[in-house]
Symmetry: C2
Subunit: 388 residues, 2 copies
């Protein structure tokens, strides 16, 4: 019970700080005395910090303000992309304190080689973090593939050429508990935690893209994982069932029309490391007709696939993240058009369809979501942090 | 806490009885002494019954067996269909004790008139139940339309021609707490409660059909309701985005290919009250080529729409219920074919796709689910039942 209440105080201050002790007590429904005892323990353990008196909105002596610590335990996020690797270190306040990016060619790669490079980046980041008095309390790794639920096993990552790869033994030790997650899921969690003020009431479909199209579904503040951990495969929702063959064995999947390679090729850009979306965005900005037509076609296909998903799930909103977010000005109108035409029933006959927005995190979503998920897991277990 | 434990004992015995006190204690993780006290209270209140010693599988004196009572509180289910009305009374054991069906033409009807007929049926059923010493402890009503989450308001039921109809004031008083739910949702709950032994781990998509196609999604034993209560609109998932217009305003929705009217017309049967699926089933059994082709076409469309849903949700299984269940021998092969082709990714690259089965409840699902949901709600509140 005490651990549970310590965690509640810590989560509350981390999410909404700076807060006074009275603010915390009001938010979590404990007495101010009980909160003070818990806060003292967290202060002594270095998980919270105090700063001078806050604004005097209350009668009497204004309380000092509490913040999650910017020293001590931190979460490490890592991302394995098709043509890049990235790591970052996030403190308990949710601030990214160290970040490193590395261009790579991970298509058809050996997991051990990729993880060796990533391991070097992680060790470097942890060293830099140590200079800021931060020590790792957990690691989450984003991968572009299917991860077996509650394991570190990448079952299939077609764009990397990996299958049945257990990453646990390939990563440096000493970074705390490890989680491996699909990149789209972590992008969605980043959106959830940076989003509206009541995350436990939020329900949305989050679409992201690197080479493939990933998606994740959040229902009432929880990621929908699926029976095996494979939920969210929007990329293989049939858009035109007799359309061109897809690498998955199906035909006319969304990815055939709106996957990054498909859109680049339709826009006359040969896909390859580095050029990708920036080139396409530049052409759209310049008003290039072929590029605009390619993006409109992708948006129409995405809108058709999302119409099915919205009819099925009735979410509060749809968020476009990943590299697709950059194309929002041209992508969102056709998406909205299809949703308006095809989801009248799910909208209860209303004329306003579900709102669709571009994620402000863009391609950083999975990395930020990974680090943030390591931080959240650490905040769940203050006992471990206090002992550490 | 005591109410909570009373409810746990009651649910356990209702779901798995006959059970001895020791069985109950083992299942819910309380001491046998604690369970005995709870059981005694439930026996005194008439919610449980004892019957003579069970099989002596245990050392020592075999305990008497406990069952939920077949007298006292009962759940009432009602179904408003497009061409029928039905009510049933279910005791705490889950046995249907009274049932009444009524053919009706509810298309383009007045809610007040339909509910007046239903009210008469309900009063008749409650009278018959009273003769078996059963008293109503709650009513759930299944409707073929969108129900605003946590209300008794039918927002839209296009096949009835109803919109914004609050049913609460149109139903007889004195039947206990009222819930109004979409028929597909209640069909799915019936499947959940009659299904595998660990319902809280079950995740499935349940497809049902009366005139429209309904579906419901169960995730980890919970009905996915959607932000507004409208989740599960599989009937308006786009199957061929440039296909024929649908009544919803979209094009090529699943309902255009696999809705009851569409299948009947494609099979050369003029849709109308009474004939419907029985005629089609008879023709399929007789090997009628046009009928078989119509059902194959419907199954293909259903398989395409379900492929999208399976890719998105990664369920453990798919269940075909409602009147479509009767067509299972001819419908399931094309459904399975599309799922095999189009969900390889969601299946983690395995060759076995998600299993698809026909619900043994068939068209009775929504009515049984309604009664059962009233019973489950009653079992949740033993304090109310004991006071009643």
């Amino acid at each position: 019970m005490r651990q549970h209440n310590l965690a509640r105080v810590l989560h509350t201050v981390a999410a909404a700080g700076p807060l006074s002790r009275a603010d915390v007590a009001a938010r979590i429904g404990l007495t101010r005395a009980a909160v003070s005892t818990l806060v003292d323990e967290l202060l002594r353990g270095g998980l919270l910090q105090e700063r001078g008196p806050g604004r005097s909105g209350t009668v009497g002596r204004p309380g000092t303000q509490l913040l999650a610590s910017d020293r001590g335990p931190c979460g490490i996020g890592a991302e394995i992309g098709v043509d890049h690797l990235a790591v970052c270190v996030m403190d308990l306040r949710g601030t990214v304190r160290v970040r490193a990016d590395h261009e790579a060619r991970n298509q058809g790669s050996d997991p051990a080689a990729v993880l060796a490079t990533l391991g070097g980046m992680l060790r470097g980041a942890v060293e830099r973090a140590a200079r800021a008095d931060l020590r790792p309390a957990g690691l989450a790794v984003a991968v572009p593939g299917l991860v077996l639920r509650d394991t570190a096993t990448v079952l299939r990552a077609p764009n990397l050429g990996w299958h049945d790869s257990d990453l646990a033994d390939l990563l440096p030790p000493g970074l705390g508990p490890l989680t491996v997650e699909n990149e789209a899921s972590l992008g969605a969690l980043a959106e959830l935690w940076s989003g509206p003020p009541i995350p436990d009431r939020d329900s949305f479909i989050h679409v992201s893209a690197e080479i493939g199209i990933g998606a994740a579904v959040v229902v009432d503040g929880e990621l929908l994982r699926g029976a095996h951990g494979f939920a969210g495969e929007l990329g293989h929702v049939p858009v035109r069932p007799d359309g061109p063959p897809c690498t998955c064995g199906g035909r006319g999947c969304l990815e055939v029309y709106a996957g990054e390679d498909a859109v680049l090729r339709a826009a006359g850009i040969e896909p390859g490391p580095g050029v990708r979306m920036a080139a396409l965005t530049a052409r759209c900005e310049a008003g290039d007709r072929i590029a605009l037509r390619a993006v409109t076609r992708a948006g129409t296909a995405l809108g058709i696939a999302l119409s099915g998903a919205v009819n099925l799930l009735d979410p509060r909103r749809v968020v476009i993240g990943g590299s697709l977010a950059r194309l929002a000005p041209w992508l969102l109108p056709p998406v909205g058009r299809e949703l308006t035409r095809r989801t009248a029933v799910a909208a209860g006959g209303r004329t306003t369809p579900v709102p669709v927005t571009a994620s402000p995190l863009g391609p950083d979503g999975p990395l930020i979501g990974a680090a943030r998920s390591a931080v959240q897991a650490a905040l769940d277990a203050p006992g471990t942090l206090l002992a550490g």
